[in-house]
Symmetry: D2
Subunit: 93 residues, 4 copies
Amino acid sequence: MYGYTPNKEDYLKRLHRIEGQVRGLQKMVEDDKYCIDILTQVSAATKALRSVALGLLEDHLGHCVAQATAEGGEVAAEKVREASEAITRLVKS
Amino acid sequence: MYGYTPNKEDYLKRLHRIEGQVRGLQKMVEDDKYCIDILTQVSAATKALRSVALGLLEDHLGHCVAQATAEGGEVAAEKVREASEAITRLVKS
Amino acid sequence: MYGYTPNKEDYLKRLHRIEGQVRGLQKMVEDDKYCIDILTQVSAATKALRSVALGLLEDHLGHCVAQATAEGGEVAAEKVREASEAITRLVKS
Amino acid sequence: MYGYTPNKEDYLKRLHRIEGQVRGLQKMVEDDKYCIDILTQVSAATKALRSVALGLLEDHLGHCVAQATAEGGEVAAEKVREASEAITRLVKS
């Protein structure tokens, strides 16, 4: 059980949609579509991925804090450090 | 012929790899992998998409400028506006 | 007392440096410096601001989790929602 | 004369406003304001800096293309490479 478990089906649906977007991008390149139109779709796929990441992060933080309440400080500090590193990677991606 | 045409095969290869990354994400969610590990992979896929976008943009600008040299100001100004809007969408995605 | 309180002096020092960077940008514009060089400095200032934000966020999450351990679920859930919204704003900025 | 020269006063005004935002951030830290409120203001300042960068970039591209039309290919290709690197730095900042 993780923070995202209750929303698993929703994340899978969103990731399937993103897979479709990426396949759509391949088709656009194959069909020699106009570069700016491809870029618009790349931005849409990137936005959708970001949104999945922000959702996972929120679910994770909620789970983290719940665990911290149950298990106390040591574990919690490590979790916070780990989440912060994930946020940094996300912001820089 | 667009700016990206000479690099078409390379873009297709990269987009196939990104499709694989997104499918990998689905598998991670299905297999109940640890949230932070999923986030790391989302960041990697996002980074790969960004990199495709930056490549397409550079190819497009090169093409734009070449066209401007050939066709002159009116067309060029419109192209610059269009490219700037694409950059804004990219930065905000 | 907030999460960032122990690092207050460090944040002030970094914000003073960023203020200096922004004043440097004004001077570059006044002195008609080359656009690409100005853009490089804008990116540096943006990066420094992002880094302050990521630090404040990490300090805040640590503090949050500590509070959650002490005060329990209700307060904690609200804090997580609030932090997630701040992360979303940061990612989109 | 660069691409941004006609909008110089506007950029200076915006950079002065951003300097004010950064000084406001210092005051918030000094006055022990709530971390999430500081983060909201950091995001606002970051957004304002991004917007300056996007404006400078659009002005620069317009100028670039105009120069390319006048001076031809060699110079233009170098300018495009330079602009693309600036966009990459901006996206990653």
